[in-house]
Amino acid sequence: MTETELIKKAQEGDRKALTELVKRYEQTIYNFSFKVCRDREKAEHTMQETFMSMVKSIKQFSGRSKFSTWLYTIVSNHCLMMARAQKNKYHASLDDENSLIDESHIADWKVTPEKVTENNELKKILDEAIEKLPYDYRIVFILRDVEGLSTAETGKIVGLSVPAVKSRLHRARAFLRNELDKKLRNE
C-alpha cells in the first residue's frame, strides 16, 4: 500500500494503517530524537509523545507537505519542549560569529568518520560537543546536515527564513568543529 493510501485510511480511523505508519517512521523518529537529546530514555519519551500527537492530529494533515516533513515538525517541537523543561542546563553562546573561526592554526584530524561505529570514546566526544550546542541550533544542524533535508524544508519545520537557517547552520558547524578540534587535533 502506498503512503498516501495508508494516510487516507488512518485518517478514516483504520488502526492497522495507523500502526503501519508508526512502524514505517519509528526508527527515523527515535534516531532523530536521540541525535537531539543524546539520551536513550529521553529519545524514547520524545518518540512516544511525537506519535501520540500524530495519532491525535492525523486528520489535520493536509498533504500539502511531505508526511515526513510533518512528522519532523512534530518531533522538533517535542524536542524543544523537552529543552525548555531543562532550561538550567548550560549551553554555549553563539552570538559572536567572528570568534567561531580562528584561522591561525588548523590541525589535521587523522581519525576517520567510520571509526564512530566502533569507538565509544569518540561517541562520548561527539555527545559532549553537541550537548553544548543550544537546542535551536542543534535541531537545524541535524535536520539539514545529518538528515539531509533542504534548507527550505528545514526553515519550514523550525519556522525560520532561509537566511536565518543558513546563519544558524554556519554557526553550528563552526562551533561543533571547534569543540571536536579540542579533542581530535592530536588523534
Binding site: F51, I106, D108, V116, D181
Partner: protein
C-alpha cells in the same frame, strides 16, 4: 598568506556556509584554487566535512522493547 587574493577567513566562512553542497558558484574556482595551495584551509575544509559525517554515521537502533512500549502507549496492536 597575505599574497593570496582571497583570505583564509573568507574561505573558512564560505566552507561553513556551503558544507555538504557542491562548490559550483562563481566564487568556487577561487575557493578551490585557495584550498589547493593552503594546507590550513584544506584541513579546515576536511574537519568541517568530517564533523558532519561523524554525526551522520552515529546512529542508534530502536530497541524491540521500546517498539513494544510505543505501540502499547498508543493503544495499537502489532498483529
Amino acid at each position: 598568506m597575505s599574497k593570496k587574493k582571497i583570505s583564509c577567513k573568507e574561505v573558512m566562512d564560505y566552507i561553513c556556509d556551503h558544507a555538504g553542497e557542491s562548490f559550483d558558484s562563481p566564487k568556487c574556482r577561487e575557493i578551490k584554487e585557495h584550498l589547493n595551495e593552503c594546507e590550513n584551509c584544506k584541513h579546515f575544509f576536511e574537519s568541517v566535512d568530517k564533523t558532519i559525517s561523524f554525526y551522520k554515521i552515529y546512529n542508534v537502533q530502536i530497541p524491540d522493547e521500546a517498539h513494544k512500549r510505543l505501540l502499547s502507549y498508543l493503544g495499537l496492536n502489532d498483529e
